[in-house]
């Protein structure tokens, strides 16, 4: 059985260059973290570092994992897993990730409950410590 990446249609990828590219990308991520004060907000930083991570992942998959040189079976095999992998976060998003209703949890409501504590009447349920 022939190895698809070993069939003589290409020389091996420049592994050392890929390694240095990955190192540079890692350095860029670290630099982005160090220079946070110059980045307008955390959303921009998130986009930058995740874009860098995606570029690194592409380098590893295409060259180190040889996907660039594999035949079309790679799409058949990986596309369903990719689609299913996206399904879980999307399924959780409406209820957990994006709140349509106000969140009422102890972590956030203690201060509010203290502030709203009536001077007389039933204060038991509003007092901290519950």
């Amino acid at each position: 059985m022939a190895d698809s990446h070993d069939d003589g249609h290409h020389s091996h990828p420049p592994y050392l260059i890929i390694f240095w590219v990955l190192c540079i990308f890692t350095g860029l991520s670290w630099a982005a973290d160090e220079l946070q004060e110059f980045i307008p907000n955390m959303g921009v930083l998130a986009v930058i570092v995740l874009a860098i991570a995606s570029a690194k992942a592409l380098c590893v998959m295409l060259y180190f994992m040889h996907l660039k040189f594999e035949r079309n079976w790679k799409y058949v095999l990986l596309a369903p897993t990719f689609i299913l992998a996206c399904g879980l976060p999307l399924a959780l998003l409406p209820d957990v990730g994006v709140h349509y209703y106000d969140i009422d949890v102890p972590q956030n409501s203690i201060a509010d409950r203290v502030a709203e504590m009536p001077e007389d009447g039933d204060a038991e349920s509003h007092a901290p410590g519950h």
Binding site: T26, S29, L50, L77, P89, L93, G97, H99, P106, G129
Partner: protein, 395 residues
């Protein structure tokens, strides 16, 4: 017919397909929880996330990935010596990665950044403080207690009675000092107002012993009466001066009494006390929190001081402060990095199998090295995403 790749490689890719879904479940859940939480721990003092250690591990894994492709290339060229050398380097990189991970885990666990242990509200922080205080006391009591001939260790209340009884007749100076330290720790805990009680509705509340509450009420009442009396005297003096066409006397500078610490009081007492204060609830709370912080800091410093070295040896109480969403942070952190670490260990086992062949390593192992390499690259891929998501993005 069939795919133009070895069956073992097809199997590895199918397995990696399931692995993609496996890790996306964790990473996706983490993203959703993080986006959905109104707050998230981002202060390094709370999370003990070390970007430099994370960056170092990223570099270590990338370098090991490079070494794996070099090893595979050497295998295809039948340069088995070079392949072995590269795999050894990969193996060592994996060990280094686990070592750094161990350092990070040790830091988190020693600061009790463990799912379920993190206080998320003021109340939980104080309750944790009391529990840890008690655990330290119990541990010290157990360590000091000398079982009788039957070897049985009684419950902790009896240990306390036994140690206190022993203290009265102790002659050995060192033993006496140990027992005195224990009694001091126990008394300090009992005299502290940080006691968890159960109110009539079954809720756990932070409270104080009734004598201290009563003393606080009496003291406050006296202060209030004194302030009222002083104000009345001042008002009367102003009125008298106005009648006699004299200049009004200067304000004697008597102010309303400072609200006493109320956070340590039960809800019922707090409700009774609050109307006494002509201050907003917010300022009362801030004042109470201030007093409480001073009290706790002083208490912890005292127990950890050199003077109390015998207590300090058993005293493992963390400075109490709430970390909102700290538990879900710790859960997601440990589940993602933990499963990743398990994968690293499996990779190390795969490489160890190859390295164990020693001089017998030949071309029959080429597919095995390639498949182990694919697996290792996948482990690297996961870390490539975990590094920015866990270590860099903070909001």
């Amino acid at each position: 017919m069939g795919l133009a790749i070895p069956n073992s490689k097809l199997c590895m890719w199918l397995f990696l397909g399931t692995e993609i879904m496996f890790f996306t479940a964790f990473i996706g859940t983490y993203l959703v929880l993080r986006l959905g939480s109104p707050d998230w721990p981002s202060d390094v003092a709370d999370t003990h996330i070390n970007v430099r250690l994370g960056g170092l591990n990223t570099f270590v894994l990338i370098f090991s990935s490079y070494m794996v492709v070099v090893a595979h290339e050497a295998m295809t060229l039948k340069d088995f010596g070079k392949a072995k050398k590269s795999l050894w380097i990969t193996f060592v990189c994996g060990i280094v990665f686990m070592g750094v991970k161990g350092v990070e885990y040790y830091g988190k666990i020693s600061h009790d950044i463990v799912p379920g242990h993190i206080a998320e509200t003021e109340d939980q922080a104080l309750r944790k403080l009391v529990n840890e205080f008690r655990e330290s006391r119990d541990e010290m009591g157990r360590a000091l207690f000398v079982p009788g001939e039957d070897g049985e260790v009684p419950d902790l209340s009896k240990i306390s009675v036994a140690l206190r009884g022993e203290l009265s007749g102790a002659t050995d100076e060192s033993r006496k000092a140990d027992l005195q330290a224990f009694v001091k720790l126990e008394d300090r805990l009992q005299n502290s107002f940080l006691i968890v009680e159960t109110d009539p509705e079954g809720h756990q509340i932070l409270s104080s012993d009734q004598a201290r509450i009563e003393a606080a009420r009496v003291a406050f009442s006296k202060l209030e009466k004194a302030a009222t009396a002083a104000k009345e005297l001042h008002a009367a003096a102003i009125a008298k001066a106005a009648d006699e066409n004299r200049e009004a006397p200067a304000d004697p500078g008597i102010v309303d009494p400072v609200p006493p610490t109320t956070i340590g009081l039960s809800a019922a007492v707090r409700r009774e006390l609050l109307p006494l204060f002509e201050a907003s609830h917010e300022s009362v709370d801030r004042e109470a929190g201030h007093h409480l912080n001073l009290h706790i800091t002083g208490l912890l410093d005292e127990m950890r001081s050199e003077e109390n070295a015998r207590i300090a040896a058993f005293f493992s109480v963390h400075d109490p402060h709430p970390i909102k969403y700290g538990n879900v942070f710790a859960s997601t952190y440990f589940i993602m990095t933990g499963f990743h670490a398990i994968h690293v260990i499996v990779g190390l086992i795969l490489f160890a199998i190859v390295l164990k062949q020693g001089p017998a390593l030949d071309e029959k192992w080429t597919d095995f090295v390639e498949n182990s390499g694919l697996y290792w690259h996948f482990v690297d891929l996961v870390w490539i995403f975990l590094f920015p998501l866990i270590y860099i993005i903070k909001f």
